[in-house]
Amino acid sequence: MNASAPNESPVSRRDFFRNGARVAAVGGLAALGGGVVPKAGAGTTVWQIDPAKCLHCGNCATHCVLEQSAVKCVQSFPICGYCQLCPGFFTPEPNALTTAAENQLCPTAAIRRRYIEDPYYEYTIDEGLCIGCSKCVEGCIRFGNGSLYLQIRHDRCVNCNECSISRVCPGDAFRRVPASSPYLLKTQPA
């Protein structure tokens, strides 16, 4: 064993450390590049959902690379009707118009309901709980004013080069928008 050792270990201690340093440097640059290149692209554009094209299919909840989707429901208060029976908050046939779990449409109870005055209620989204499933969006658009809609929240989105949700979006609603105006907000109807 001792006789064959020089043939099996031709790399000297100095070469080993030199090559190791090169590999580490190249690896570091690659990692840095991987992080920088998408962000360089993100400097000009980011992903966003066009609410006019969104079909509220539910894919946003299940196809984001993040464990909890970066897509969240947002509320347009000027459009909202402050309905007592909010079709985005309640199941189609609620037992009662209360906040009991069985009456709520949202699977994570991410919509907060607050009494304003008879018969109006305010609805707000707890984004920490919202998973972007769009059940509320479907109910609100079909029966209400369509004030609830989906947007990509850029404090969460990692801005992938190719958004994994956009690949499966049936409405082709995902597009890149300028990073300086990263949201496509609904406005009050004319």
Binding site: T62, P119, K135, V137, E138, C140, R142, F143, G146
Partner: protein, 330 residues
């Protein structure tokens, strides 16, 4: 035996591992969302035994952006269509088109054949020859006129923006507000989450107003007194579905009330005291309207209603622009 099984080399092993990972990844990407997001499909079919009307005539309005329908005393059918109002003969032929300075939102015809065309904040009066002879303007800045009717006691205008029925006297002077919350006479107040407030004259001499946010049809005297309300919140055929229905109402010559809903676009007849009687048109008759409600914007769907002197129900589909003349068959 185990000695005969060839061991995979390192390259084969890593290749197989990568292929397996890729397949698992592709399968994960193809996993569909679990279940339909919002399912009301069981309410989209109508029991045929409940349907008591059939379509006697139908046509599509030429102008885009229809929003209101009315039956004239001469048999013509008026439609608030885009930047004007249009009169159609009973067979659908276009008979007249009168322009307006902005998008029309409702139309009514008086017993004297005067035409009252609503825009967002004004009522334009036309004589039977089409000359503009008057203007009733909103006193409030947030006005959104969505309904108008005429009686011998004046012109009644539904203002969705201010959740009130405005009463103008025959000379055009604003002289009353109807529908505001009033503890003294029990008026609950009009809840109007979306711009679908309408008002119709009833054969009993009172008015009927669709209190959409409460799922009720209210009755008011022409002087503004509250005369009762009926209506039940339900997706079932006898009730009013969603957040804010009925979006349109009409009174038949015998006093029964016709209602139209959005979300589940359907038209029904109720007795004077609100008991469900029959279906004029079920959801199946308005596939584009139902689809529009779920795919674009709730504010762009809905149905307009009117009833003529023969008891026929006129339905205007806001999405397709189609007029349907419904004749009772049972």
């Amino acid at each position: 035996m185990s000695g005969n099984v060839p061991k995979p080399d390192r390259r084969t092993f890593l290749g197989a591992l990568g292929a397996g990972g890729l397949a698992a990844g592709l399968q994960a990407q193809a996993t569909p969302a679990a279940g339909p997001p919002y399912d009301v499909s069981k309410f989209e079919t109508t029991d045929p035994r409940l349907v008591a009307y059939a379509c006697a005539a139908t046509w599509v309005c030429r102008a885009a952006g229809v929003r209101g329908i009315a039956a004239g005393p001469d048999g013509r059918i008026w439609v608030a269509a885009g930047l004007g109002v249009a009169a159609h003969r009973p067979d659908g032929a276009l008979d007249a088109e009168w322009p307006l300075p902005e998008r029309s939102t409702a139309v009514a015809v008086g017993p004297d054949a005067m035409v009252y065309a609503a825009t967002r904040s004004a009522i334009h009066l036309f004589d039977p020859a089409g000359r503009r002879v008057g203007l009733l303007e909103s006193p409030a800045p947030k006005a959104w006129f969505t309904g108008v009717t005429v009686t011998s006691e004046g012109v009644f205008v539904a203002d969705s923006g201010n959740r009130v029925i405005l009463r103008f006297d025959p000379q055009g002077k604003l002289d009353g507000r109807i529908g505001e919350k009033n503890g003294a006479n029990g008026a609950p107040g009009l809840a109007v989450p979306s711009p679908y407030l309408t008002v119709v004259r009833h054969p009993d001499g009172n008015l009927r107003v669709n209190n959409t946010g409460r799922h009720k049809v209210d009755a008011y005297t022409p002087s503004g007194g509250f005369a009762g309300a009926w209506g039940e919140t339900s997706f079932a055929i006898h009730g009013f579905c969603g957040c804010c229905n009925p979006v349109s109402i009409a009174a038949l010559p015998d006093g029964r009330i016709v209602t139209a809903e959005k979300g589940l676009p359907r038209v029904k007849v109720h007795s004077v005291d609100g008991r469900f009687e029959s279906v004029v048109a079920g959801v199946e008759m308005f596939p584009e309207n139902a689809k529009a409600g779920s795919r674009t914007e709730g504010l762009h769907s809905g149905l307009g209603l009117a009833a003529d002197e023969r008891g026929r129900v006129l339905i205007l589909d806001y999405v397709t622009g189609r007029v349907r003349v419904m004749q009772r068959i049972a």
